[in-house]
Amino acid sequence: MTAPLVSFDRVTYSYPGVAAPALNDVSLEIGPGEFCLLAGLSGHGKSTLLHAACGLVPHFHGGHFAGRVTLAGLDTREHGPARLGAFAGVLFQDPETQLVMSSVRAELALALENRGHGAAAVARGVEEVALALGIDSLLDRSTHELSGGEKQRVALGAALAGRPRLVLLDEPTSQLDPVAGDELIGLLRRLNQEWETTIVLAEHRLERCLSSVDRVIALEGGRVGCDSEPQAFLAWAGQSSPALQTPAAKLFALAGLRPAPAGVREARATLRAHRLLPDEEPSRIGQSQPARPRRKAKLRRAAKPAAALEYDGVWHELRNGPAILRGATLRVQAGESVALMGRNGAGKSTLLRHAAGLLEPTRGRIERAGRVALLLQNPGDYFVHERVAEEAPEQALAAVGLAGMAGRNPRDLSGGERQRLALAIVTGSGDEPAVLALDEPTRGMDREAKGELARELRRRSERGQAVIVATHDPEFAAACADRAVLMADGRVIADGTAAELLAGGWYFATETARILSGAARALLPEQGAELLRARRDGAETPIDARDAHAIVPGVA
């Protein structure tokens, strides 16, 4: 029997000054060549487990450590992260803090040089890892001019440069668009299959990687709640931790189908076997993005009430640089909720900054019916005081359900609570803003917190606020928006109802829509399950997205 690469033996760990243990009596073994997914809600110990595996816990963080962790036979209590780094590469969530050198080449070389490799070995290691990850064209670029996806790849390259036997990744896709996220998961799969690299990946969006992994370790309150193959994990999640269920598993559970699928392909095969999916389907290209004749649109606009927010041919051109927005035109009405989607760098954040007046268009104009409250990507950037009560007025705190937390330090709040506090800060207690704009509000959030935020946004749009959310998460977009807008190269390239836009794509589509090929424009598991039941009963009826939101408002 092969010796485990990583082994946890009754590990209990508490951070300094915190009574509750972050890891509680954890025992597990990970063998060479395994691809493990670490699942769990925020604050349940995923990151701590990764830090313990590479020796950062306890050497870097301090705290109370009991039990034993070994990596490649080395006891982490006796060997620090620098020594263990020869066996384990680590990739954290924020690529910005993982790039420590000015150029990509120097970044990839650093770990090899630190370990005393010779010049030839360093040069070869850099070359090989750059080729393996497809970043050879970036070698002479400065790290500060890379995009988020490129930074994450370079950081992964730096972690892999020494060809470690184990790679530990902490939510590496949380800041990436769906395309870059899928690419990264594909890359990990390739590393695992071709080089037998052991991968341990902590991730919230399980649907993105469940079909690629061999094993899922779910943590609950610092304990191992489930440690099994993906199928068994899904069965466990359905029973014990519904917040960890993937949309596909939820769809099957609601439709009364078994077994729960680990991915789209498996789900479709099962549906075909049950004759709930036709063997061949017509191409849906073009069906999801109905063309809008300009003239008709103008006529329709004339009849519409005044917009809460209107962009008319807005350009944002950088001096001596590219144009970030290229004639963006968009109209959002009061009470409407719009999901703004597109690749990293498509212009979504810039569009929202223009709405709030943080940027001025170089051409074109923007009209606002009232105040625009903008919630930027990092809620922590809003916090300047020591107490929640000092950050936002009482009324605003009560509106987001934080009235009972007035005495707490904002930095001690959970991810979801921090987001709600930031929301209270930007909305304030005076007149309600006419428009609420949110830039990637679900970064690093678990499904439960996302569902809570989606419900809050629905409530606000029902009260008449226009809500516009830039997001990479199609499930969240489907849960909170009636309308979806797809941006590319600074322009709006598709604009339609969420059901139209999110039902027929590869990347910008929900898992339910991908399983059902966009049939009946079902986006959420509840809608999909209704469709499947109708098919089973022989009475398929199309579902309207707005009606379905009434069924279950929340994230799948």
Binding site: C54, T97, V426, G428
Partner: protein, 296 residues
């Protein structure tokens, strides 16, 4: 972001294509020439050479912006020199008795000398800017790591953190602008904001420290010596640097670049001065003529 444009970025230029050690030596040679030469015409020739070199390296606009910023130091240097030194003989204004500063006679010589010093400061600013834009700091620090690797790595990190913290500061400022009541005001508000900025920087530093730990910083060893073949640009800029040093020394030792301000202005423009100016321009700019093999 504007601050970002003052950082090194690999561009297709002969200077970028030269190895960092040679680039740094070339910049050091220009700085040496600036420090040892005083003749205004020679300094103006050096200024023209540095600006043209900036254009040749593709960073002319940034250099022009840096020159505008450098102009801010010009006026105080000239004013202070005119007020403090009264050694010239050509008085153009009498301010009477200035107490501890003596008689307030403002002289043309002090004005010209102040302008020459200001020009030298401006040149040093421009040369430093040009070097920071065109010489790969990682390569320079790599060379230094062979001497004192921990200090060099720390310096490298500090350089890397500048754009990161600048981006953080911009994000934080934007977030504060989106508050309905605007950014926190008053002394208390500013202190709170400062605390948040420092707290954020410390968080960043912790994250970076964790990254360094797992990359083996604790067991870091001396960087290996990398043997790289000398490119045409390495050779050209090395020759250029040596030529500039030789010309600077010649200019200092001969009458070609002689200059004295007190008690009377003496800045002769001889054939030797013209030859020195042309030679400096040629030595600085000729390496930019060869643009083979400069692609990024």
């Amino acid at each position: 972001m504007r601050a970002m444009s003052f950082f090194y970025r690999r561009l297709p230029s002969p200077l970028h294509a030269a190895r960092a050690g040679v680039g740094a030596l070339w910049a050091a040679a220009l700085s040496l020439a600036t420090l040892v030469l005083y003749n205004p015409l020679v300094l103006l020739a050096l200024l023209a050479a540095v600006l043209c070199a900036g254009v040749g390296a593709g960073v002319g606009r940034v250099l022009a912006r840096s020159m505008r910023t450098g102009a801010i130091v010009w006026l105080p240097i000239v004013v202070v020199n005119v007020l403090v030194y009264h050694e010239g003989v050509t008085v153009f204004a009498r301010l009477g008795d200035l107490g501890p500063f003596g008689q307030g006679n403002l002289t043309l010589e002090a004005l010209v000398y102040g302008s020459v010093i200001a020009l030298k400061v401006m040149l040093l600013i421009l040369i430093t800017t040009l070097a920071s834009l065109t010489v790969d700091p990682d390569q320079v620090l790599r060379l230094l790591r062979r001497l004192s690797f921990r200090s060099a790595l720390t310096a490298s990190l500090a350089m890397r953190m500048i754009p990161v913290l600048a981006a953080d500061a911009q994000r934080l400022a934007e977030a504060q602008r989106t508050r309905p009541e605007g950014p926190p005001r008053g002394a208390r508000g500013r202190v709170a904001l400062l605390r948040a900025v420092i707290g954020g920087s410390l968080d960043r530093a912790m994250d970076v420290a964790a990254t360094l730990e797992v990359r083996g910083f604790e067991t870091a060893r001396r960087a290996p010596r990398v043997v790289r073949p000398w490119s045409r640009h390495d050779v050209a800029f090395l020759v250029s640097a040596v030529a500039v040093i030789v010309l600077a020394i010649l200019g200092r030792l001969t009458a070609a670049a002689s200059f004295s301000a007190y008690p009377e202005l003496h800045a002769p423009i001889s054939t030797g001065t013209i030859v020195l100016c042309v030679a400096l321009l040629a030595a600085v700019l000729l390496p930019f003529a060869d643009r083979r093999g400069i692609d990024v």
